[in-house]
Structure formats: structure tokens, C-alpha cells
């Protein structure tokens, strides 16, 4: 650390350093910071570490540092509040073949008399992957279009994965589909959401028969009801099982393990970092 360029540097500055460290001294006189970056101007520059901002979509808020609530959090971080943000909607151009697929899909939906903006909630490009968030009632239409349109031709569905976001109010349950096009060698992701109070998503077994077991599995673990599925029954758990075990509000169900003179609680009961 060179002398006093940042607030956190000197031993005397320790008290207030953390909060105004990034702004402060350098920006006032317009000089460049130690990395050759002017923090005032280049705040959004790619070369800065990830900033806590209002980008993305809040799906949850976290308090404290430790996962288990009710346990003695003596760390002093109990008042820490963080929001969990998923990557938000992307605007065009998406880059690469993503635009082509998006154009074709929107065009094909147009041809069927649908308004693409109503069907596709948002499009997310993140980590080199294209995700269409679809309004749930249009899912079979979109899937059929993606499968049959010669320019899209996503022949292979790799099943559905359920995700439960209890903090994402009104859209707690997500069903995530990955579609692979062998013809064009592409992979896209469809995501639909349903509220906990009305956990219904239309089934796409009629379009992709391979989703038969996958939808049963997601129903089994998350309680997502796939309307129109030929036989939506439990597949992994015993038929008389209560609850949907992989939802976030379902406990892990472990038992404390006894050792000589000690007892270790189940993994979900332990104090741990999140």
C-alpha cells in the first residue's frame, strides 16, 4: 500500500475507512487512483471488482453471516443485511447466435398471432448462456415452436429442473428447461415461474415425451403440478410420502450424530456460513 491513497490505508484512518474508502480523496482532486483507474469516472468499468448496486433482480434478502437462525451468532454480523440478486434482463444485442434465435422465436410467435412481449417476460444473457423467461401459460406453445421451426429446431429437451426461491414473492417456484439443438448445435434455457399458492405449470410432455419422468421428479421434489401430464405421480419418494423434500422450507431431515461424549447436529442445524 502506498502512503494514504486509500482511506483504509493508514492506521489512523481505520475507524471510518471502510465506508468512504472508494469515493473520497482521489475523486475530489481528479487524480487517478493507484490502479490507473479514476473511480469517479470509471465506476462501471469492467476492470473494477463487482459493485453492489441495484442491478439484477432481487430474489431474497439475507441477514447476518451465519446460516442457522436462532443459534448464538456472536460474530457481531447479526445486523448485516444483504440482498441476493440474480442476473437481470439483458437488452439487445445479445451477441452471437443469440440474436438470431431470439429473432426467429419472436417472428414465429408473431406468425401464430401472439405478441412476443407477452410471451417472453424477459431475456437474460449470462455466462454465455441464453435464457428466455416465459409466461407459464405460453410454455407449450413456445416449446412446440422451438422444436418445430426449421430455423430453431431444438430437438432434444434435457429435462426440467425445479428451483425454489422462497424469498422471490409471487414467483417462488421456478422450472428450468434446457433445450439442445443437434441440428444447429445450440443450447438455450427456458425458465418459467409459478407462485407457491398456485404451483401449476403446463406440461410439455406432449411436445417432448422425454419430460415425462423429469416432470414427475420435479413434482415429487418441489410440488410443482404439471397440468396435462399423463400420470403425474411421485417417482422417487414412496407414494405415501408427505411433503416435497427438495423445497427450501422442507428440512434436510438429518438426525444428530452421537460420538463419545459429544453430539453433532444434522448439517442443516449447524451454525455455518451461507
Amino acid at each position: 500500500m502506498s502512503d494514504g491513497t486509500k482511506g483504509t490505508g493508514g492506521p489512523q484512518g481505520g475507524g471510518n475507512g471502510g465506508t468512504n474508502g472508494t469515493g473520497g480523496v482521489n475523486a475530489a482532486d481528479g487524480t487517478k487512483g493507484p490502479n490507473g483507474v479514476n473511480p469517479d469516472k470509471d465506476l462501471n468499468a469492467q476492470n473494477l471488482p463487482g459493485q453492489r448496486g441495484d442491478h439484477g433482480e432481487v430474489i431474497d434478502t439475507r441477514r447476518g453471516m451465519f446460516g442457522a437462525s436462532g443459534g448464538g451468532d456472536t460474530s457481531g454480523y447479526g445486523g448485516l443485511v444483504r440482498s441476493v440478486r440474480m442476473p437481470g434482463a439483458t437488452s439487445r444485442p445479445y451477441g452471437g447466435w443469440f440474436d438470431e434465435v431470439a429473432d426467429e422465436l419472436e417472428g414465429a410467435l408473431d406468425e401464430q398471432g401472439l405478441v412476443p412481449e407477452n410471451v417472453i417476460e424477459k431475456t437474460v444473457v449470462d455466462r454465455g448462456e441464453l435464457t428466455f423467461h416465459i409466461e407459464r401459460e405460453y410454455l407449450p406453445t413456445v416449446a412446440k415452436t422451438l422444436r418445430d421451426d426449421p430455423a430453431l429446431r431444438f430437438e432434444l429437451c434435457t429435462g426440467v429442473s425445479g428451483v425454489h426461491f422462497p424469498g422471490d414473492k409471487g414467483r417462488e417456484l421456478h422450472a428450468v428447461y434446457h433445450l439442445r439443438s443437434i441440428t444447429h448445435n445450440r443450447l438455450i434455457r427456458l425458465e418459467v415461474s409459478a407462485p407457491d399458492a398456485d404451483p401449476h405449470v403446463p406440461s410439455i410432455v406432449a411436445v417432448y415425451p422425454t419430460n415425462d419422468w423429469h416432470e414427475r421428479e420435479t413434482y415429487d421434489f418441489f410440488g410443482l403440478v404439471f397440468d396435462g401430464h399423463p400420470a403425474l405421480t411421485r417417482i422417487m419418494m414412496p407414494d405415501d410420502w408427505q411433503g416435497f423434500p427438495q423445497r427450501k422450507d422442507y428440512p434436510l431431515g438429518g438426525i444428530p450424530v452421537e460420538y463419545k461424549g459429544a453430539q453433532i447436529p444434522a448439517p442443516d442445524q449447524r451454525r455455518s456460513y451461507t
Partner: protein, 184 residues
Amino acid sequence: MGLEEKLPSGFLLSTVEQAAGWVRKSSVFPATFGLACCAIEMMTTGAGRYDLARFGMEVFRGSPRQADLMIVAGRVSQKMAPVLRQVYDQMPNPKWVISMGVCASSGGMFNNYAIVQGVDHIVPVDIYLPGCPPRPEMLMDAILKLHQKIQGSKLGVNQRQAAREAEEAALKALPTIEMKGLLR
């Protein structure tokens, strides 16, 4: 056979015990109860390199009615538990159980909603075999230890006496959590 169960305690019974134990241990028929990873190691044990046939037990029986040893090889899920018990009940007496691997013995790393935390909740276990999965050598070691146990098993009145003593000892045993000292 049943006749040996009615012999009076004494020299005759202990001789029959030894003979029966020797015969029984020399030709144990395991039931195939492969569940998960351990099942592969169990099959390996039966295959060429480890050659379980050396101990007179290369014949894994598909039908539990022809078997007297159940090697529970792998994690037992809640859904599998009733099936496992039924297979055990179908085996004729005398019968033994080896709980192969940590998952069968105690649930192991899968301390969760899906796995029975130890197959001893469902069937009585004679040998617990640790490891994830245990090596074939370990399985053979467990089998040889079981052979010793079978050789020393009692019959008739002696068996009932032994069962009583075992129960008394179990009732007196200190729970794990109250034990002190090193993990041994």
C-alpha cells in the same frame, strides 16, 4: 433340521454345535443384495482377482429362500426399507447380515430425509463393515470374521442362554454419548 435344538445341554450339544458351525461356515450362500457403490465392490470380490470362491461362497443366490447371508451393500433408502425387510424375512434360519459400508451401517454422509440411518433399524446386523466403499479385502475380512462367529454360534438351550446374556449386556451397555475418553 430342528433336532439339534432339542438336545440337552452338555458334551453332546457342544460337539454338535462345533460340527454344525463348521459345516455352516464352510458353505455360506449370500443373497445378492446389492444396492449402490458397495454392490460393485461386492461383485468385484466375487470376480477373478479376489475370488470369493476360496471361502466356499462364490454362489450368490438370486432367491433369498436359498440364502443364509445377506450382504446389505449400499445405502438403504426409505423406499427400499420395506423391501429389504421382506427379503430378510424370506430367508430361512439360520441367517446372518453383514452391513457393508458406512451408508448401510449408519447412514454415512447421507444424513438426510431419504436414507435410513443404519440398516440395523430394520434387520439385526451381525457384522458392521466400515468404508466408502470398503475394499474387497475388507469385505473378505468381514466374511472371515463372520465365519468365526458362525463357528462359535450356539444351539438349543445354549443359544437361548447366549441370547439372554447378550440382551443383558446390551441393556447394561453405556450409551455412546456417555462414554468418555478417546474415540476408540
